[in-house]
Symmetry: C2
Subunit: 371 residues, 2 copies
């Protein structure tokens, strides 16, 4: 079995879901609220989780919307309170995990989510929250070890709470839960993890352990994505991609770069985050390549490319093999939004850690290349 303790206590192995009862005991949780979403429920994963627990010993909230809202959090909170729950279990991708954090925060701290907004300094008030166990069902964003909780407020605005206390205390990574993910989602989420590895590795901050985890994230995606794409039931490849996603989530603290600076505003157009990152990655690489040449060389070494092979070409070929869209226009982006996206990209904190400073004009040029 695999136990690790870095940002969280992490149980990682095939069948690790069966450890949920003992992990609840470990955290002293007597009655958990299990939070998930309709997709995870209809895939049968909620049933598999419930099979591990004694009947009547837990409550559930299975209606998490794709971009979780404060309203949904309050619904879940009222179940939590009515049923005297004392901890939250999140089953799913980023949305149920963020909702679980919001419930655990409000249950212990009171108030509204906007009181904890990082942009108004509210996140500093966040102390210890109710215990959260995160059980990811995709291998991509790495939200299970994330310190952020992003929710849509009643008035439609987004609210980011960011604090180390928001990291789930315990993570259960069971690659079994990802064996039935379709090839397209497998590719887009794994390339999201890859983009976390690449962007943080070359980012302009110093953080040696994050660099080590980033390289390993890259190595695992590079070595296993094709296998998982072509054979969804390839257990070893699923294991490796889930490990890569976990590592990709752990490295975010080092700071991202141009890919995410651009995919963040583009995401507001309701485009898939991982797919956007896939399309943008070769172009941001071209922009950064001379400034971060030594680090890209080490990436090549770790994924096993020869010194003659070109990393940019490798990104392109990966996208092609994974049937990613060729450019932004084929994703339905219209050309007239590019200047606005470039302006937003240049303003975000994600841009501050790109190895080469990028102006609005330079972001426009990158977007035009990617268009």
């Amino acid at each position: 079995m695999g136990l690790s303790n870095y940002l969280a206590r992490i149980q990682f192995d095939f069948g690790a879901l069966a450890l949920l009862p003992s992990e609840l005991t470990h955290l002293g949780i007597k009655r958990p609220l299990v939070v998930t979403d309709p997709g995870v429920k209809s895939a049968g994963l909620l049933d598999r989780l419930m099979d591990t627990l004694a009947k009547g010993s837990f409550s559930t909230y299975a209606d998490t919307p794709p971009n979780p809202t404060e309203q949904a959090a309050l619904q879940a909170l009222s179940i939590y309170t009515d049923d005297d729950c004392d901890g939250v279990v999140a089953l799913g991708g980023g949305s149920p995990i963020d909702l679980a954090k919001a419930v655990a925060l409000l249950a212990t701290h009171g108030g509204n989510l906007k009181d904890y907004n990082v942009q108004t300094g509210g996140s500093e008030k966040i102390g210890k929250i109710a215990p959260v166990i995160a059980i990811p069902t995709t291998a991509g964003a790495g939200a299970e070890v994330g310190r952020a909780c992003v929710m849509t407020l009643e008035d439609g605005r987004k609210c980011d709470a960011v604090n180390l206390n928001l990291i789930p205390q315990t993570v259960i990574c069971d690659p079994e839960l990802t064996l039935s993910l379709p090839a397209g989602i497998t590719a887009a989420t794994a390339i999201d993890a890859l983009s976390h590895g690449v962007e943080t590795y070359v980012s302009n901050q110093e953080n040696p352990p994050a660099e080590g985890l980033a390289l390993d994230c890259i190595r695992r995606v590079a070595g296993n994505l094709e296998a998982a794409f072509h054979e969804p039931g390839n257990r070893q490849a699923r294991w490796e991609l889930m490990a890569a996603a976990l590592e990709g989530g752990m490295v975010l603290q080092k700071g991202l770069g141009g890919v995410h600076a651009l995919s963040s505003p583009l995401g507001e157009l309701k485009l898939h985050h991982g797919t956007l990152n896939a399309v943008l990655m070769p172009h941001v690489y071209e922009f950064n390549r001379d400034v971060a040449a030594e680090k890209y060389q080490i990436i090549k070494q770790v994924i096993g490319l020869s010194s003659q092979q070109d990393l940019g070409e490798w990104f392109w070929q990966l996208n092609q093999k994974m049937k990613m869209p060729e450019n932004l226009s084929s994703m339905g982006v219209s050309k007239d939004v590019l200047p606005e996206m470039a302006e937003k990209a240049a303003r975000t904190h994600l841009s501050m850690t790109n190895p080469r400073p990028a102006s609005v004009e330079e972001y426009i040029s990158i977007l035009e290349q990617a268009f």
Copy 2:
């Protein structure tokens, strides 16, 4: 600047020592006890630390012995208590760091060290201890992120306390502090870090982030040890070796293997731990090579060896270039202790995580090869 948060809050950069005052404030420490040893003091490093603090705002204990004793911890504790200290700063290698942990433990929990011995279940009683800041002055053991505190009791026996609460809350890694380390110590300590990376990477437990950190530890030592050995003032190489040592300390939770199973009892003969690991590593590699072949292949890829090159040969050549002793006999080990060492090795928990189970007879054979 470089801040990371994994097992501890880690400040990592040239000149990071200057952050000590703000890190004390961050932990709410108003009056620290600074713990170090005579060697660190005479190298002028204690003076450099004191220059960062206001005169009269701290206490010091500079008499930590090489294998720290409970008696020394009690001396330091009485200064801590008399001066109303509220946190401990450890400056040095493993000995001052362990002593600092012992002081922080006894100051908050009372009793004697033997009450917290892991072998009698006492370590489970360890809750939050007084805040500890660790500032390593060598790049090797990685004690700055270790969860163990090893002390010699009044009656001469060793006592290991092991608990996550013993990990220093904050670590300041300043490669400047290692620029004057002599070549011999540089090599032996860096090979110790390398052995942490190699042994944990191939160990039989599952822990993906530890594997990522282990590979990066190996990559950094392989790429930088020769430079630091030949030019002690090579800043980049010193930076990389300190990063490798930190990563090597972070991965220990995955479990070590045969090298440490053997070097642990051999260390009782007062032989240098890192040097022992250097001598043993090629032989344990030969013992494990077929069982962990795929993982050794990835190690070769990460350090940039071709598929034709032999990893065992690489270990040998590294030892030769670093002027390590060729075998145990040239370190002064006498042949008649080998059976006792093999028996102790087979009994230790370190042996349980070696990828290939090793019997007493097999340890004897490894020791004879290394003799």
